[in-house]
Structure formats: structure tokens, C-alpha cells
């Protein structure tokens, strides 16, 4: 059973609670959203890399030569 940990900053008391069904449902929603966000980041990076490779090919230079231009 999953739990959450909580500290009362006034009393210093630490308690652990089992997650409710609503909390479990929210966690699943969050998981899906995070995986979509990560997939979007990876797709964005892949698109940038592909565009760079295409440009270098059109220019007829290598990655190492492109670095020299920086």
C-alpha cells in the first residue's frame, strides 16, 4: 500500500497516511502527463538534430567543421 509522509511544522509530529483512491487516480493522471511531456521533449530534440544534420549535408561540411565555425 502506498503512503504519503507528512510533518506538522508547528508540532513537529510526523505521520504516514495510506493514499486514498482519489490520490491514486491523480497520480496515474500525472504519470501519463509526464510521459507525454518527456516524449515531446525527446521529439523536439530529435527534430533539432535532424534539421542540423540536413543543414550540414546541404552545406557539405562535417560536424567537426561546423564546430570550428562557432
Amino acid at each position: 500500500m502506498e503512503t504519503r509522509i507528512e510533518i506538522n511544522c508547528t508540532t513537529g509530529k510526523i505521520t504516514e497516511h495510506e493514499l486514498t483512491q482519489a490520490e491514486l487516480d491523480q497520480r496515474e493522471t500525472d504519470r501519463v502527463a509526464y510521459e507525454m511531456e518527456q516524449a515531446n521533449k525527446e521529439a523536439e530534440q530529435a527534430a533539432k538534430a535532424a534539421a542540423r544534420a540536413e543543414l550540414l549535408a546541404r552545406l557539405g561540411i562535417t560536424e567537426e567543421e561546423a564546430e570550428l565555425l562557432k
Binding site: 502506498e2 503512503t3 510533518i7 491523480q26 500525472d30 515531446n40
Partner: protein
Amino acid sequence: MATTFTLISTITVGSGGAATISFTSIPSTYTDLCLKVSARTNYAASVNDGLQIYFNGLTTNLTTRELYGTGSAAGSGTDTVNKIGYMTAINATTNTFGNGEIYIPNYTSSNYKSSSGDGVSESNATGAFMAMNANLWSSTDAITSITLKSANAGSQVFQQYSTASLYGILKA
């Protein structure tokens, strides 16, 4: 310039792990808050996991602007959460923990609450996800509680020995 930087409370996760870490009944006697986190989750799909934060138990009206780096690429983005960058996940080097910090100024004011966070999935390896976040919680309520969770929630939990420490700052 802070005149005091006082530890309010600290939590260390026990052997069973924890889905979330919360600080409740936060005293309103400080000017700003600062939260420092050392964390690792059991997220198995990657070597890193996002670290999210929300206030007063509410996960709405949150936005963030993020600058991130992966070790080989960099980028930026927006999201409808508040974040403290990244932390380490279970496939990273054993016994390594990510670390992060968030600063929350004027947490009792009636203005919207901005905060700045940064976190990195330290793993003693070549690549590491890191991010800086400019967060906004569009609420006029005073912050009385703070909750931390894995961005990739699902069944993921903070692993044993993850710690979070909340500090109160008084300004002159």
C-alpha cells in the same frame, strides 16, 4: 539580505518509501521560505525524474517556465505545474541522489506566489538532467502547506533516505 535563515522542519523518508512529502501548518512568521531537497525515486523508465511541488493541497492554477539541459542538449518549455527541476531515479548510479532547492518569497502575501527552483539528477555519470524553473501559483491565499511529489507519479515513490528541509527566512 536575509537576517535569519531558520530550519523549520526536516523529513527523511523511511524504508517503505513515500508517494509524497508534505509540510503542513507552516508558521506565518517568516518573510520567505526555502526548501532544500535530496531525493531519489523508483521511477524505472529513466535515470531521472521530475520533482514537482504544490501548495495548500491544490494542484490547479500552477504554471512554470523551464530551462533544461540533458548533458547533451538543452531546451526550454512551459507546463501547468510547479517544479524544482529533476531528481535521480532508480536506474541511475546506485546510492546517488538528486538535489534541488526552491525559494518562495512573500509566501503569506495576498499576491500570486512566484518561486524559483533548480534541481539536478546527480548520478556521477556523463549525462544528468538539470533544470531551472520560474514558477507561479496564481492564488492569493497564504501558503500554509507544501507537498513534493514525483512528476512521473503513477506508482513511483521517494526512496529511503530522501530528505527535505524547510527553512524560514526573515528579512531586515
